[in-house]
């Protein structure tokens, strides 16, 4: 059987070779869905280590991106043995880069970390209009909406999106978090969001607090 503690540590260390060897060896044993679930959980714990190291300034954004890539590769390898197992999701989040802005690196980092933490993540992509956020929120009824942007024009688009959610009567049923280079406390207040962050790991903690 795979040593889950060693796997967790390897994910924390972003040790690609060790992770891929362990996961491939594990899948080759034709494991049960329940065992595969434990492996996913061990990887999630490894991602929590990555998040901690990021908060302690030992890892930086480049490391988070690499971690996201490693995790999605790992999940892809595990998918065949995971199928048929009901997965317990901790909550659902709709995310997108707001209208007028095409930058998606921060959003993608947050998305992959949220997924790793067990959220159902609906990613609307880039240059997302207020109405597209509203439509998706109506459809999937998320607990959380995450808006991302890098340009200062994103602040105005975030404001319009919150306004549109208000007009659609959806504002009170969701928590809204904004993220990206230009956001700060004042912008957050003006936009009417519930929280802001320039740090994906911190943003994830905020979201986890909301769905507890």
């Amino acid at each position: 059987m795979i040593d889950l503690q060693v796997l967790t540590q390897a994910v924390g260390d972003l040790d690609e070779k060790t992770i891929l060897t362990m996961i491939n060896d594990f899948v080759a044993t034709n494991p049960s869905g329940e065992d595969a679930q434990k492996v996913v959980f061990a990887c999630q714990q490894g991602m929590a280590i990555v998040g901690d190291l990021f908060e302690r300034n030992e890892y930086y954004v480049g490391d988070l991106i690499f971690a996201g890539e490693l995790l999605s590769t790992t999940i892809d390898i595990l998918k065949p043995v995971l199928s048929g197992v009901a997965t317990q999701k901790v909550g659902s989040i709709v995310i997108g880069t707001v209208q007028g802005d095409l930058h998606d690196i921060g959003k993608n980092i947050f998305g992959s970390m949220a997924e790793a933490a067990g959220f159902n993540v609906y990613d609307l992509g880039i240059d997302v209009s207020p109405s597209a956020f509203v439509e998706k929120a109506k459809e999937v009824k998320p607990q959380i909406i995450g808006m991302s942007g890098v340009l200062t024009l994103a602040i105005d688009s975030m404001k319009s999106t919150v306004k549109a959610l208000n007009e659609a009567g959806l504002r009170d049923s969701v928590k809204i978090i904004i993220g990206g280079n230009p956001v700060n406390e004042d912008a957050c207040k003006q936009i009417g969001a519930d929280a802001f962050t320039t740090n994906a790991a911190e943003g994830l903690k905020t979201c986890q607090g909301w769905v507890k």
């Binding site: 890892y59 480049g62 490391d63 991106i65 690196i105 200062t152 912008a187 003006q190």
Partner: protein, 384 residues
């Protein structure tokens, strides 16, 4: 001599003093708002005006008249026409009309050796056809696409140059030349391997990343060279990836060729202006090693610490948070300008610029009034 010519001379002298480490007559000012802002300020459609440059002259005239600045407020401009003709993927227009650089991959990981062996050939033969769809096809068609795009680009630049010359003649701005280049590691990330790609490469094949940065360095020097190095002006280098790297990756992969680039340009007698994007506070000791009078425009960080560590050797700029213009009162905006002036102006070596460019204007928002108040405050209170 007309008043306007005298004004240009005076402003040129301020920048000559600033760039050579002497204390100028007053703190020079550059309006952080750009052409995109100017178009919206004139009440015109952003996308339309970028396709039809003939609409821009009155746009600039009003913009130059209403906001104090010592330099022409053209900003860095990406005109869409030639990008469109080339089938550009690295620079495209968003729904708001703002030209942007999304994440693209121009070079595959398995092509590193080809790139390192001959970066120029690899860019021409492999990377450009991948990034620009119209450069990928039959040679005749590619030649036509390139010819059309370059013709349009040179027409656009000439037209904008005419507007610039008219505004300089009317408003007496400093006349500075500028070249643009990138740190080798940033070039590898932004246009070749992508943010995501380079983040993996740093861990998977650091030796190749390092060799590629060395290989592309001469091209980055060439791109950053002014027509005449002794002319008044600077090489602008927007820095990107360093804050997202671990210290050891920065030291091994980013810094060596970046330092060589700046030193080479400085040895040629050129002034270099760095846009120090995001937060570089953990790299201040590295920045200190760069040649004297390198201009550093900071986005985030501690202005006091920067003045203390770099203020006697380098020229400090930036830090003014433009989001405050969107969210603050006029008084708060002016107070912030005063705070930065008090910290950064003493002893000279300070150029008033904001932490980033203002590209957007919400018509009902307070930005116009706040920006004008800040520019006026610095203009009146920045004298030595």
């Amino acid at each position: 001599m007309t008043d306007v010519v005298a004004l240009t001379n005076e402003r040129n002298q301020m920048f000559r003093d600033l760039f050579s480490g002497k204390t100028p007559k007053r703190v020079p000012i550059s309006n952080p708002a750009t052409q995109d802002f100017a178009i919206q300020y004139a009440g015109l459609d952003l996308a339309e005006c970028q396709w039809d440059l003939t609409k821009l002259e009155p746009v600039y005239d009003k913009f130059c008249q209403d906001f104090i600045t010592d330099t022409y407020p053209g900003g860095s401009i990406r005109i869409p026409s030639h990008y469109q003709l080339l089938g550009s993927t690295p620079i495209i227009m968003s729904s708001s009309g703002f030209m942007q650089h999304p994440e693209v991959v121009g070079l595959l990981a398995e092509e590193y050796d080809q790139f390192i062996a001959s970066p120029y050939d690899c860019i021409i033969e492999t990377i450009l056809p991948r990034l620009y769809t119209e450069l990928n096809g039959e040679p005749g068609k590619v030649a036509m696409a390139l010819a059309k795009a370059m013709r349009v680009h040179s027409d656009d630049m000439a037209y904008l140059g005419t507007i610039r010359a008219k505004m300089n003649a009317k408003y007496g701005f400093a006349t500075m030349g500028a070249a643009l280049t990138e740190a080798p590691f940033d070039f590898m990330a932004d246009f070749l391997r992508s943010f995501k790609g380079i983040s993996g490469d740093v861990r998977r094949y650091p030796d190749k990343v390092s060799a590629a940065c060395e290989a592309v360095l001469p091209l980055m020097v060439k791109k950053g060279t002014l027509p005449n190095p002794s002319m008044l002006g600077y090489t602008f280098i927007p820095l990107h990836m360093a804050p997202y790297l671990r210290d050891k990756d920065f030291a091994a992969l980013y810094w060596p060729t970046f330092k060589k680039l700046i030193e080479t340009l400085a040895e040629m007698g050129q002034t270099v202006q760095l846009f120090v994007e995001n937060d570089w506070m953990r790299y201040l000791d590295y920045l200190y090693e760069l040649p004297e009078n390198t201009i550093m425009r900071f986005e985030y960080g501690d202005p006091k610490l920067v003045k203390e560590k770099l203020g006697k050797k380098h020229i400090v700029s930036g830090f003014y948070p433009i989001t405050l213009l969107q969210t603050g009162t006029k008084q708060q905006c002016v107070d912030k300008a005063k705070e930065l002036l008090d910290i950064l102006a003493p002893g000279g070596r300070y150029w008033w610029q904001a932490d980033k460019s203002i590209i957007n204007l919400e018509a009902s928002g307070p930005v116009v009034e706040n920006l004008r108040a800040v520019l006026e405050y610095v203009h009146e209170n920045g004298t030595y």
